[in-house]
Symmetry: C2
Subunit: 387 residues, 2 copies
């Protein structure tokens, strides 16, 4: 086990009707709120009205900035920074999924910084201060509601990069599973793939003697798999929606990464894909992860056999551990297909045209990954497996 | 699943040599430190010297208060409060196990309060402020290093009562598994029983649809069981010590209680036992829990069968679920015996003399427990089973 630091300071307020507490929570931190959200579905389903009602009830002043896109853009962040400065905003509330929250975090660090906010993502500046942010989560997927990361896409060159600092942990995150009833089957599946990927990035490690976190990760994966079928059958099943939503936060508050060296190569590869093709991050991962697994599993057969056995209940073939490992990988690919996700680039009509460009960008700061260190050639091979 | 709030703000610094970071962490909060510890073992094993070295290196001023006893006493807390006031202490560092940390928390809330600190434990006053505290943990057991609870024993009547408030979360807790190598086999086993009990109090619930937390709890119990044998065989096994230490915090930061109504009757019963007989809390629990389980299991057979199957790998007898449930309970009692703990009151020469007094005290504020609500008569029955 490796030495580690762990902290989960975000106050999670979980359950039915909890969005009505938003104003009360914000009041502890500020008075003038930037309400930041996506493309209007929160208005369609009444979430906007309830949140706004809660803010007004507490006498908070509200400036709105809607229109955050999936794979949130730097131009929107810059717009938000200006708006906050002009209006002396002292709290940013994101209502939405990871895109709205990541965009809110980016605005939060941009406001007190004299340079350009992209500096933090280009690793040219260190985050030292941020406006406090909070979240009302409507899509369980990214885990941004409990993390101190933000991922932003720079349209100038389509770079998708991340910044992290403990100053951007949301002060609170409100998680009401009812708000996820209206997610389509596709959006739900994409979220599940994203959550599973956050577990995989931590689970597939070469660090030995990490039993507790192995078992906690396996518990999270099994719960996701069991509840995926239930919500796809019945989108209004509160308990199954609640399990998936809580899995999304547990998967990414980094408890599952404690004592381990995490991998994150698949995320790096997927970021290049979604930056260029603007596909959903979760569906990019349902393509990249099976391919990555097929390419790297031999680096640690016992770990892949354990995964097959404990997560998918596949009996271990003690005379052929490799077969067990491969069965586990294939089972994941079938699962992604069963829940309606692409598992090959060709499913999304992506060809090998830009493999070279993407592989170059993925390794521009050197090889990526820990489970198996990947250079440009490795990434090209993974893209080929994924075709 | 029930609505819930969850927050784990304590910064955990985990691993080899981490006690050398103590001074650096304290410096963020204060300059004048009360160093609070137990009966001298930290001096014997060099922990005191390393921690003191780290404090001195950062130029911190230190006042000492050693001598905290197991089942920490109110008289010591009052002494600490006076000492802090006389010396304008602005940070309290506990070095030790749950007793030192609980005592530090009590002192922390006593200092800014004009009345007597017992008021908080007697529920006559609400905690509004506290001196910041931190911990260097030497005994994985109580989970106090990540909790916002404190349990103190009032010698006047031997009442053992708790107080809780988010103001008493430790600001940081330093967990170096190496510091636990010198724990005796008995101390180690007592700690394991204490940790398992924290999981049980949350696991045995009547709330349905709590799959993720069920599985996370089962993961924690399995890890504890697997590593108990390893450390009792080889006390210097770093990885097994690390697993147990991290289990101790995960078991009690309340993640495992999210979405569930917890029980806590067994803790209530045990507190009466250890308040009167001054036995180790963990060994009180290794006696009370099997007896409690035998008395209540019929209230929810499926849950006890699930526990037997998933935690102890006992095959479910589908024609006799009750037998499966009983097998699981018996397996726990055998496990406690295997690791050298008492499982009956008679093992510690405790007779039925004071059953009536203890049962009365346990229910003085009404029936206890949620899995099955227990009145005085129920508690007497549990004591009889435990004889």
């Amino acid at each position: 086990m490796e030495n580690f630091m762990f902290q989960a300071p975000t106050k999670i307020i979980f359950g039915k009707g909890t969005e009505n507490q938003t104003g009360e929570e914000i009041k502890k931190f500020g008075k003038k709120v930037l309400l930041h959200y996506g493309e209007g579905s929160i208005k369609k389903y009444g979430i906007y009205d309830r949140v706004m009602g809660s803010l007004k009830k507490e006498g908070l002043e509200v400036i709105e900035l809607g229109g955050v896109q999936p794979n949130p853009r730097l131009s929107m962040v810059r717009k938000g920074v200006s708006l906050c400065r002009e209006n002396n905003i002292d709290f940013i509330l994101a209502v939405g999924g990871g895109s709205a929250i990541d965009s809110a975090k980016a605005i939060g660090i941009g406001v007190p910084y004299s340079g350009d906010v992209w500096d933090f993502y280009a690793k040219k500046a260190k985050i030292r201060a941020a406006l406090p942010i909070g979240a009302v989560l409507t899509i369980p997927a990214a885990g941004s509601e409990v993390s101190c990361d933000s991922v932003i896409t720079n349209e100038d060159g389509w770079y998708k990069r991340s910044a992290d600092n403990e100053a951007i942990f949301p002060r609170f995150s409100i998680l009401n599973p009812e708000l996820t009833f209206t997610l389509s089957a596709k959006q739900t599946a994409i979220g599940i793939a994203d959550i599973m990927s956050h577990v995989f990035e931590r689970y597939f490690t070469q660090v030995q003697n990490v039993e507790l976190t192995d078992r906690l990760a396996e518990a999270t994966l099994k719960t996701l798999i069991n509840n995926a079928g239930i919500v796809l059958e019945n989108p209004n099943d509160y308990n199954a929606r609640a399990e998936i939503m809580w899995c999304g936060s547990i998967a990414h508050n980094n408890m599952l990464g404690t004592g381990r060296i995490n991998d994150w190569a698949s995320h790096g590869i997927e970021h290049e894909l979604s930056a260029i093709y603007d596909i959903a991050h979760g569906e990019g991962l349902s393509i990249v992860f099976p391919a990555w697994m097929k390419y790297v599993y031999k680096s640690n057969l016992p770990r892949f056999a354990q995964y097959a056995n404990r997560v998918w209940n596949i009996d271990i073939d003690f005379n052929n551990i490799e077969k067990t490992a491969i069965d586990g990988i294939n089972r994941l690919e079938s699962f992604f297909r069963e829940i309606g996700l692409a598992t090959r680039l060709s499913d999304l009509d992506i060809t090998d045209d830009r493999f070279d460009e993407m592989a170059n960008k993925a390794v521009e700061n050197g090889p990526i990954g820990f489970f198996k260190k990947l250079d440009k050639n490795d990434i090209l091979n993974i893209f080929k497996i994924a075709l």
